[in-house]
Symmetry: C2
Subunit: 350 residues, 2 copies
């Protein structure tokens, strides 16, 4: 019998973290009487006087959110990380290792209206979001080793407030995922004298099997090693290292690309498609200011949980937590579906 | 200012996988208008004629589930892994690495009645489950490098059928998590000439800060590096390497310990507490038959998602997926709450 990737279980290596993913095509056929997600239809009002993220509303701590007109950034009232914090005592026991964690957590509203999301905002409005990301990054990257810009979209992805927003958590240290990536990208560069993701994009463009969107500045691809059902990477084609390297044209093309990708996502199951997404680029802060970033390529990663429909998600549970990442359709099948679905007109537009 | 673990953000090292966890105490205070879980109240009937896991019911593939009276094991009708599968072609491109995956997936019903769960079964009935785990393990470990016994409990943890059951996925290869653990345990043993988890249990018993249950055969501890809010490890105190080493007395004590732990879990938020749990021990199969397992200690891990109540869970999303594991209360606080809650009488008993 000949091996057919879309039929036969197999493993694929994620070269960015060195871990294997188990690919089990056709498992999506199994009966499902488990949890049903509420499909997010976004029936929110434009303005909700009880939502602290809306312009002019007073937050629980008594501070009033200004009547902002585009984006608005503020310090998280319940930050995971804070700037000034005592250093834990040293331990020489390898089983009880503790280390300092300093940082800062901000919330960034994308738009004054609660009932919009990135795919239903205009490209010009998305460009304003990107500009704000960059100005935040400029400030925070001067101080911190890692600035994690990320969006949890939808209640299914743990978003605790439905107003369109993202978060920016800055860290005095390199967290696990960027640390693993840093090591792998560096090792690849040492051998190949090329950034791994530049080579990767080139080969994906030749193969065309997993490409979802391509334009002169950006490529969207379902990675060969994708874990989440419709996971994608949005990768710079211009050897950008960090989000604040982008030219005005690259930023505007990014806004168009993000609008197209998120419109495809919403159209796939005709719902406000939940995901967590975020940016990865070369580390920052005084510590990394003089290190080479030649091995890095700026990219965003989208982790969307939906598997079969607006109401059936993929759970990363038992086997995945205890053994390894596992997916139920091939990355090629996911890419095909994302390629085929309309990215220009949102399903809510008539 | 002096460092206080229950107040100040910090990182802790998981020595079993080499990754750091960010601990952010007091974040549980933040307002929550996100997703509410349906509290699982288990209002199922004892017998559901439409549920293929119930005794006597015909499954979608036409096979009838026998009228079993204790446990019942069958091959998953939609297996992620199969025994005979063509081998993928070799690739010498480091960015497109693919590898074979052979295996086998079984479903194991714990009890004929749909409306029971481990904490509401008797210790004698749980002992039967453990015996069946062992006989399955005996058979499968002869052939496969890794036999992952795991239970997804509750719709919140992706359980697709509410009848009490677990799964057993066997793999021709060592998956990511056991592979990392194997390396770390081996390195520790090489330096210390003691199994890491034996040392760990000893020190936790001295400190008593994170112990939830202890008896002569077993310890339940919220690990110093726990990621999930009420994560625990159930660790053998008898230098067991694999589940099929257990003596009759150790098995029966395990049944009592599992009943006590899961009763505590249910009582904590007065609901059928969801979790994913599974067993880790020394690798198996012809490949590992002659390798030393001296560095291993048999243990189960429980990953429960609930954070604040029966309806508010912890989401492992944006920052956690893109950067690193993060938790909102300290392991010591979680252990204290689990210690304090009754483990002898289930909240549904009057
Ligand atoms: O096999 P089940 O119960 O249908 O599926 C459940 O457990 C599997 C193993 O952890 C996961 O891959 C699935 O996402 C989950 O829904
Ligand atoms: O900060 P939020 O939106 O309240 O919280 C959300 O994002 C955080 C960062 O990924 C997670 O730690 C939380 O579990 C999630 O609910």
């Amino acid at each position: 019998m000949q091996f057919v990737a879309s039929e036969h279980p197999h493993r694929r290596l994620n070269p960015l973290n060195g871990q294997w993913v188990l690919v089990c095509p056709h498992r999506t056929q199994r009966p499902w009487s488990g949890q049903q997600e509420k499909a997010q239809k976004n029936e929110l009002p434009e303005f909700d006087p009880t939502n602290p993220l809306c312009p002019g509303v007073t937050r629980p701590n008594g501070i009033q959110t200004p009547k902002y007109e585009s984006t608005y950034v503020f310090e998280n009232d319940f930050p995971a990380l804070v700037e000034v914090v005592p250093v834990p005592p040293n331990s020489d026991d390898p089983l009880f290792q503790i280390a300092p964690a300093r940082g800062n957590c901000r919330v960034m509203c994308f738009h004054p209206k609660s009932n919009l999301t990135l795919p239903t905002m205009s490209a010009a409005e998305i460009a304003v979001v990107i500009d704000e990301w960059i100005s935040q990054f400029n400030e925070l990257s001067a101080k911190y080793a890692w600035v994690q810009i990320f969006e949890n979209k939808g209640a299914t992805m743990g978003c605790s407030n439905p107003h369109p927003h993202c978060q920016i958590w800055s860290c005095s240290f390199l967290p696990t995922e960027p640390q693993l990536k840093q090591e792998r990208l560096r090792a690849y560069y040492a051998t190949n004298e090329r950034p791994m993701l530049a080579d990767y994009v080139e080969r994906e463009l030749q193969r065309q099997e997993r490409i979802v969107i391509e334009n002169p500045d950006w490529v969207v691809v379902v990675p060969f090693w994708a874990t989440w059902p419709f996971e994608t990477m949005l990768i710079s084609r211009n050897n950008n290292k960090r989000i604040n390297d982008l030219t005005t044209k690259q930023r505007y093309n990014l806004a168009l690309t993000m609008k197209e990708l998120t419109t495809k996502y919403d159209n796939l199951f005709q719902c406000s498609f939940p995901y967590s997404m975020g940016w990865h680029g070369a580390p920052t802060g005084p510590e990394h200011a003089h290190a080479s970033s030649a091995h890095w390529t700026l990219h965003a990663i989208y982790y969307p949980p939906l598997l079969r429909s607006a109401s059936v998600r993929k759970f990363m549970v038992g086997f995945e937590l205890l053994a390894m990442a596992q997916r139920d359709l091939t990355p090629e099948q996911a890419a095909q579906r994302l390629r085929d679905v309309d990215g220009k007109r949102h399903y809510l537009e008539k």
